[in-house]
């Protein structure tokens, strides 16, 4: 059954990815401890464990490169946790290096390629140098012998943790706990939380006493610096009993005190084989019907985003069904059947309610916290700061802010480019910072929060700010603006020049960051996600970029309009109002049409002209849809307003990538497709300048 092996392999890739991410977070934490001069042995242990697990899985699934790398990392980490090698910055860098190589290996494995990723051999070579032999020295310092009974149920890994704790002089405790199976997870989490502040729980041993269906009894083995009274104060309760395990080896039944029925104590202490019985009878167990097969009880499910997309598609189709239902109801009423019509409308309302619930439910599943991408950025910041030799303090807030998973995936590149630009061009080098009285470490602050139907992400640095005159010079030189513009552009407009192609890249590629990635690419990418980007800057103080994104790409409310025979959808979150238009009060300034709206001028854009469509009745009655994007407004002229509708936006394929002005297409019912306008792109196109915009539009027309 090749199918199930393939599924298992897919699981393996997911799990390997997760483990690598955990390992990475672990390394970041280790990095912090080095800076703070603190020692945390559990971190190295966790790293060891992660790599060890990865090695096991890689072996199982035949991922040779991964297995090899894990094996050598494991050796090094073992040396580290045994204290035979010191954790220096250099060693940590090496460990960080392995994360990238793991990433490449994973990509290669997924693609089924046999190719060895570059850098693997070198990395393994350096690891071996540091790793050395891992055979434990026979004369390891142990103040006392561990009770064989205790050892009998510990894995080698746990025994090692126990010994290291003892070597550091910690005390051993046994926590006897009794939990209800129903609330087990919560109770466990709670006790882990509380115990964490006082020491380390090494293992959990279920006691044979209570094997009822309702409750579970466990002995927890814990190491702590604190003395008994403190632990009792912190942890003991009616369900938790705390006892100290005496150090002296003479007490044979150290781990199993009088609390256990002798039978269980026997089982722990009897080293050779044997299946000891329980002295006491266990409670009579009422068997649940055996044909109820209970599968894994874990709470979370890993979901393939494509399945969610399919579900979303179906919701979209149901939305169309719902619309048809409403139209039928109207027709029935028109044909003189008010009774049936109201019934239909009632059904329609019910349907609508349930559909919204389902839609919300699916959207909720698609939402993931931004922290996912922020964490990856931490690593990148560290890397870049080393490359460019600048000390950077990276502050993240709002990482629990949630956004559609698909958006998150596309965000990491633009964010990374912005941060790289910030570190490269924004943050001054140490000498200059000292000269202007700034702290040695440059700060980059990443903040995210939800604002209505949008998520806002801010990236702020305390660097030198954007040099406006240099920016203008460059734009002039590239022909993006002319001399008159130079006088007339507002500050905001000058800063926006960085979003023009070619302006924000270096003239000459330098060694470290090449030309840099243009902000125009970043802006386009953000645009594809339905978002906008803004820049603010103060010379000498810093620069702040603000990205505003829709919370979800999936379903949006839109206004359907018609130009000639063609239907378009305009996302409602960009629409502030729609009004009838009779052509009066329109002025033409600099080639652009403007109309007055409540005392302010509103630039107009005739969709028919912009898109070269047959216009119906050019001087007749039309409608203006006022689109607001950031601080800019644009009046979009259309022939008809059809109405509001929830739509599922589907992205246009790559072959249409060069077509500007649309953020996708949606199904309108009866297999008809309507294009979804991208108000931000339109605003930019029209407001940039009447002439050059049209030129651009024509060029793209190909």
């Amino acid at each position: 059954m090749v199918d199930s092996i393939d599924k298992a392999r897919e699981e393996f890739f997911s799990e390997a990815q997760e483990i690598i991410e955990t390992f990475s977070r672990n390394l970041l934490a280790l990095d912090a401890t080095i800076s703070e001069g603190v020692k945390d042995p559990t971190l190295v242990n966790e790293a060891f464990r992660a790599v060890h697990t990865l090695k096991g899985l890689a072996g199982l699934f035949g991922a040779v490169a991964m297995g090899t790398l894990s094996h050598h990392l494991e050796d090094l980490l073992d040396e580290l946790r045994l204290g035979r090698t010191e954790l220096t910055r250099a060693v940590l860098d090496l460990l960080f290096g392995s994360i990238d190589v793991f990433g490449k290996i994973l990509v290669a494995e997924r693609a089924g390629s046999e190719a060895i990723p570059p850098g693997l051999d070198e990395l393994v070579g350096r690891l071996r140098e540091l790793g050395g032999s891992v055979a434990p020295e026979p004369g390891m310092v142990t103040e006392y012998e561990l009770d064989p009974g205790m050892l009998a149920v510990l894995t080698e890994y746990e025994e090692h943790r126990l010994r290291s704790n003892l070597e550091q002089g910690l005390r051993l405790y046994r926590l006897h706990v009794k939990f209800d199976l129903a609330t087990l997870d919560k109770a466990l989490e709670e006790i882990k939380d509380r115990a964490k502040r006082h020491g380390e729980i090494i293992t959990y041993l279920p006691t044979g006493e209570s094997s009822s269906i309702e409750t579970i009894e466990l002995d927890l083995l814990m190491a702590s610096h604190d003395d008994l009274s403190i632990l009792i104060g912190a942890l003991a309760s009616e369900r938790i009993i705390v006892e100290e395990i005496e150090r002296k080896p003479q007490l044979p039944a150290a781990f199993s005190s009088r609390r256990h029925p002798p039978a269980v104590a026997e089982s722990i202490l009897s080293v050779p084989s044997g299946h000891p019985r329980l002295g006491e009878e266990t409670a009579d167990l009422a068997l649940v019907s055996p044909d109820r097969s209970l599968r894994s009880l874990t709470q979370t499910v890993r979901v393939d985003i494509r399945k969610l997309d399919r579900l979303m598609n179906i919701v979209g189709e149901l939305a169309i069904v719902r619309n048809v239902l409403s139209r039928i109801a109207d027709r029935v009423r028109a044909e003189g059947q008010p009774q049936i019509s109201s019934e239909l409308l009632r059904v329609h309302r019910n349907f609508e309610r349930r559909l919204t619930e389902m839609q919300d439910g699916i959207l909720e599943v698609r939402m993931v916290p931004l922290g996912q991408v922020f964490e990856r950025l931490s690593r990148v910041v560290r890397q870049i700061s080393r490359e460019l030799d600048k000390e950077i303090r990276f502050v993240i807030t709002g990482s629990e802010t949630e956004i559609d998973k698909l958006i998150v995936e596309e965000l990491s590149d633009p964010l990374m480019h912005m941060i790289r630009n910030s570190i490269d061009h924004g943050i001054e080098d140490a000498a200059e910072r000292a000269r202007v009285g700034k702290p040695a470490a440059g700060t980059i602050a990443l903040n995210a929060f939800q604002k209505g139907n949008h998520v806002v992400i801010e990236i702020e640095d305390d660097g030198r700010g954007i040099d406006e005159s240099a920016l203008m010079q460059k734009a002039l030189r590239l022909g993006k603006i002319d001399l008159t513009d130079r006088e007339q552009l507002s500050r905001e407009e000058v800063l926006s020049l960085i979003f023009l192609p070619g302006v924000s890249t270096r003239e000459r590629a330098d060694d470290v960051s090449g030309r840099g990635v243009g902000m125009d690419v970043v802006k386009t990418n953000i645009g594809h996600l339905g978002g906008v980007i803004d820049v603010q800057s103060e010379p000498g103080i810093g620069t702040k970029m603000t990205i505003t994104l829709p919370i979800t790409l999936a379903i949006v409310s839109a206004l359907l309009v018609k130009v000639g025979e063609q239907v378009f959808a305009i996302p409602l979150n960009s629409v502030s109002e729609a009004l009838a238009f009779d052509g009066r009060g329109v002025r033409v300034v600099d080639g652009r049409e403007l109309m007055g709206l409540r005392g302010q001028s509103l630039p107009l854009c005739r969709l028919a002209r912009v898109f070269d469509l047959p216009e119906e009745n050019p001087s007749g009655r039309k409608f203006v849809v006022v689109a607001t994007v950031g601080t800019k407004r644009l009046g979009i002229l259309v022939d008809y307003l059809i109405g509001q509708q929830d739509i599922v936006i589907k992205p246009l394929g790559k072959s249409l990538a060069q077509v500007r002005g649309f953020s996708g297409a949606t199904e309108l019912g009866d297999q008809n497709v309507g294009l979804v306008l991208d108000p931000a792109a339109l605003v930019e196109e029209v407001l940039l300048s009447g002439e050059s915009a049209r030129e651009k539009g024509l060029r793209a027309h190909g």
């Binding site: 979209g316 070269d612 394929g653 790559k654 072959s655 077509v659 008809n672 294009l675 190909g702």
Partner: protein, 160 residues
């Protein structure tokens, strides 16, 4: 491939097994000529649903349409290959294929004919017999019978 109907091979198409593997091709007409693409590259054949024009798209892109909820970019194959484009008839069809980037592209053709099998020996490599852009997309000329069939490289056409 629910929509694919295979027509029986004609007698004269059955040849002695030529050297090399037998490949299956779907033949269709564009204007007056017979073309074919490898069967494995086609996912489905549909009757053209309403196609929405996409302003500013390339001249050979008819627009987009929806097939069971999936957005399809429709390319007029006659325009892409720069051959005459007769008006649509009831026999016009769209061949659906998927590019490497996951985009579903539909090719508009005048009429779908049948599936034929060709051995390597029945395919002539294309010398500069055909001029213009088309030669870049041609795999060869098939001659199972008398009439030549221009074998197209679908992936090259849709830019997979």
């Amino acid at each position: 491939m629910a929509n694919l109907t295979r027509v029986e091979r004609r007698g004269h198409l059955r040849r002695a097994a030529a050297a090399g593997p037998i490949r299956e091709f779907l033949t269709f007409t564009l204007s007056v000529d017979l073309y074919a693409v490898e069967l494995t590259t086609i996912r489905e054949i549909v009757s053209p649903p309403p196609v929405t024009h996409v302003p500013r798209a390339a001249h050979d892109v008819l627009g987009v349409c929806s097939v069971r909820g999936v957005l399809v970019t429709v390319v007029d194959l006659r325009k892409r290959l720069r051959v005459a484009a007769p008006p649509a008839s009831s026999r016009t069809r769209i061949l659906l294929s998927k590019t490497g980037s996951g985009e579903v592209v539909g090719l508009l053709v005048d009429e779908v004919r049948q599936v034929i099998r060709l051995g390597a020996g029945e395919i002539e490599p294309v010398a500069a017999v055909l001029g213009g852009d088309i030669s870049a997309h041609v795999l060869g000329i098939g001659r199972p019978g008398n009439d030549p069939i221009i074998l197209l490289d679908l992936n090259s056409i849709i830019g997979a």
